[in-house]
């Protein structure tokens, strides 16, 4: 409430001062118009400067958020292409590396992205976030079951399920492709 009152007071005072400045310019004799003209232009610069600064700041935040997401996606790509997730790699029991999503979380929670202009991107990032959380949870379950089984066969079963054509994991790879392509195009 206080913030709204201060904003109303600030912009109200500026608007009144602007109106008085323009009136002063109109009623002043021709030889004395330099002062009201300078006063009116200074007030106009003050009002537009507030909006310009806000716009530049938002743009900078958005760019920083997109850069962070690009880096995070590249890091996730390295993880998925690494030895741990290679279909022809070792089938032994192992702790898998996890996919990260901190940049996506920050971008979504900080309001850096515009709900109107970035509606598609926000939707894509929400889907990606859900997929990462799900795959990390499934990896946890996999490790738990593989490490508590006395048989190496269990590790092989999970390896086969992880890399099967219908695996959830293949969907995550496709979603990463889609997200990376979209973020790069922004």
């Amino acid at each position: 409430m206080t913030r709204v009152a201060i904003t109303a007071l600030t912009f109200g005072a500026l608007a009144v001062a602007m109106a008085l400045g323009v009136s002063w310019l109109v009623v002043s004799p021709p030889g004395e118009r330099w002062e009201p003209a300078v006063n009116s232009l200074a007030l106009l610069a003050g009002i537009t400067g507030i909006f310009a600064e806000r716009w530049a700041s938002q743009r900078e935040q958005r760019n920083q958020a997109l850069d962070s997401i690009r880096l995070e996606m590249a890091r996730n790509r390295e993880t998925l292409d690494g030895e741990a997730f290679n279909a022809t790699g070792s089938r032994a029991r192992r702790v898998y590396p996890r996919l990260v999503q901190s940049a996506v979380d920050t971008a979504l929670s900080s309001g850096s992205l515009s709900p109107h202009r970035d509606a598609d991107l926000i939707d894509l990032l929400h889907r990606w976030r859900t997929a990462v959380a799900s795959v990390n949870r499934r990896l946890e379950l996999t490790e738990m079951l593989v490490f508590t089984s006395p048989s190496d066969e269990k590790a092989e079963q999970f390896h086969a399920a992880l890399h099967s054509a219908t695996s959830f994991f293949q969907g995550v790879r496709t979603l990463l492709d889609e997200t990376q392509a979209y973020v790069s195009s922004r």
Partner: protein, 386 residues
Amino acid sequence: MTASDGRLVGDLAKAIDESDFAWSLVLVGEDQRDKLAALTGDLLGKPSSNGDGKQITSGYAYWGIGPTIAWAHACADPFYLVMKQSLDSFTRRWGRVRGRVGEGFHHVSFGVGTGHKDRLILEHLLEHNQDLLYLPVDMSSEMLRLGTREATHRVGPRGHRVVPVQLDFSITDNLAELRDLVHRLVGDEPVLYSLLGNTLANFDHDDELLANLTALARPQDRFLLEVATTEALSDDLARDAVEEYSRSRAYREFVTSALLHNTDLTITVDAVQFRGSVEGDRALKVKVVYQNQTGDDILMMLPDRTRVAFPDRDTIRLYLTRKYARRALDGIVRAAGMRKVTGTHSDFAVPRSAQGFGMDLLLLAPGDPVPAPRPDDDVARVIWEN
């Protein structure tokens, strides 16, 4: 047996062990004339354009020195993926399984092949049983000679403890005789039976054959089974399987060698065709056929000198193989009255090979069949399925 008979056997064993000459003692279980008659009968089938008439059944593809040499060449061909990958990855797969075999085993190997795999098995078994008896069983004496020499090269066992048996093990009565022979030789000591190299897939009635072979095993015995596998079944994958076999010229020469040596046909390897299909929910099936593409009806002379018509577009099925669905393996094992002690899988690590093709090595034991898993028991699938 008299004392003099016993002495004769002892002297024979001593002579084989002490000689530098490559003697091998082979037990021939069947009259080879009957086998030739059976082969002739198989080539008298009715005309068919899809390999369902005339055929060369599994054992005959390796019967005789010509097919045996062609087989050895095909195994050395880097384009014959199934065999190459099977041989390359067997050391690793056997390493994962052998710890569960136990000690004091003898070894009976069905279809000795090149002998490389049997050598690895013998090396391990000999560590725990120096008096091991090794019985490779095959329909082809030439294959036995080739495979046995490789299997026993530098690892032993002593010459008289190696008893190759020339026998068609797809015939049930033969197996009954073999069982009596093995049990007489080893008594109650355990036996490791093996059927490696995807040999099971070469038989029309593979399920029946596996049940007959595993029926030899007593509670103390184990059965080692190696099969080519696929993660999924589809017409596209059947085409990939066909592609895999058709790449190798040496393989084409091998599958036609039985025809070359038992008929007077002029063989061209270009007339070898590969037909892939999905066999129910259990396997991808590849039929290799030889088709008369000369445009004319021709006469073909068989081993007994009879001449039979080989009409234009008619086919002779040369070879049959499969890639079993990995999900169907448990059912196949269960239907044979066995339970899986352990198993291991190896994917084909070749860029052009279809995703999901590989080899599985299963160590089986007789006993109460394990109940079929309920769908919700397949935890890995449930967790990673979409």
